[in-house]
């Protein structure tokens, strides 16, 4: 299998322009779009706005790269993250959609996992009661580990352990069900 090009090499190709620049831009988008989406989902908590963020950030990063404003091409990831923080911050302030349009739609639409809700319900049913309660309070109701601990009369450390084990159990359960479905 061919070794993937490093970020610095991709940036150099874009800066050089010419025939290979377009393919390098596509590769940069393919590489970072899923990571930008995750950042958006975490900070904007909305799939549509996360998709907007992907478009706006990639557009900004490509423009900066072409204009040689990425100072350290080997750390273009830091540049992408900084751009994410700026654009998401502006989006949170205005509660609006990001500028950037659909210019990169064909390059930047990241794949997302489709979770079978019925399967997830079944997997939740297999958790023990305490794990179900912690998952419910953490993710349905959005409480922090400290808040969940105080409601359940335990320590935040215990909540974190129960929580990450529960998410791991749900992940394994869903993977198993997906495997059964594929056979």
């Amino acid at each position: 299998m061919a070794e993937e090009r490093g970020d610095a090499e991709i940036v150099a190709c874009i800066v050089a322009g010419g025939a290979e620049a377009r393919a390098a831009e596509a590769e940069l988008c393919r590489r970072f779009a899923p990571r930008i989406r995750l950042y958006g989902l975490r900070h904007l908590r909305d799939e549509d706005r996360a998709r907007d963020l992907v478009q706006a950030v990639l557009l900004g990063v490509l423009e900066a790269t072409r204009a040689r404003r990425v100072m350290d091409p080997s750390r273009v990831d830091r540049f992408v993250l900084g751009t994410c923080r700026n654009v998401a911050g502006r989006m949170r302030e205005t509660e609006g959609r990001a500028e950037g349009g659909d210019a990169l739609e064909h390059l930047a639409a990241p794949q997302r996992e489709h979770v079978d809700l019925g399967a997830l319900m079944r997997c939740l049913g297999r958790l023990d009661e305490r794990a179900r309660v912690v998952v419910g309070l953490s993710f349905h109701e959005g409480h922090s580990a400290d808040e969940v601990a105080s409601r359940l009369g335990t320590t935040p450390g215990n909540v974190r352990v129960v929580r990450h084990r529960a998410v791991a159990a749900l992940r394994s359960c869903l993977d198993r069900k997906a495997g059964e479905g594929a056979r």
Binding site: L38, R45, R78, S138, L170
Partner: protein, 181 residues
């Protein structure tokens, strides 16, 4: 996929998606994940679970959430069930959620209400909670059946246990035979 020499721990990724990593750790994790294909893929595996859970409507809801669902444009039908009822409930194509009003409960002195839904045939618990929302004045608990429940066994027994001040307990069962169109 390129391998990672210092993979982000699963528990840190779960804490990140739960929103309670300390700010310094959150920034460090984001810097690592943004530069690491393997860890970003692992973070996506965590997010698929946590963000789906966050977006799911709970099985038992309160009236305020029911009104918010209506305000969001969801098509809702309410259906009253009395303790001991065993009957069909048709989830028709024109519905997004079918809300069962599990009534006949004396909730005037209730401290907590427990809820469990199990497969009538196998007895397997499908979902349960020790402390669900309830309407003290109306004397009911709202079970919010959603279209993805079509993936569950159709005939379910719902058990509601009311714990009142002083230790008194009241248990009611409702058997719902879901028929999805």
């Amino acid at each position: 996929m390129n391998r990672c020499s210092a993979p982000a721990p699963w528990e840190a990724l779960v804490a990140y998606w739960a929103g309670d990593l300390p700010s310094g750790e959150e920034h460090a994790l984001e810097e690592h994940v943004m530069g690491c294909e393997a860890c970003s893929a692992e973070s996506a595996r965590v997010a698929a679970i946590t963000e789906t859970l966050r977006a799911m409507i709970p099985a038992v809801i309160d009236r305020a959430l029911l009104e918010r669902l209506r305000a969001r444009g969801l098509r809702v039908r309410e259906s009253p069930f009395a303790p001991g009822d065993r009957r069909e409930a048709h989830f028709t194509r024109d519905l997004d959620v079918l809300v069962f009003r599990l009534g006949g409960l004396d909730l005037s002195r209730a401290e907590t209400v427990e809820f469990a839904m199990r497969d009538e045939r196998s007895g397997q618990i499908l979902t349960a909670s020790q402390n669900v929302a309830f309407d003290r004045d109306a004397g009911d608990v709202l079970l919010c059946c959603q279209r993805h429940y079509a993936g569950l066994p159709p005939d379910v027994v719902v058990e509601v246990k009311v714990r009142a001040a002083g230790g008194a307990e009241q248990v009611a069962q409702y058997t719902i035979l879901h028929r999805f169109e």
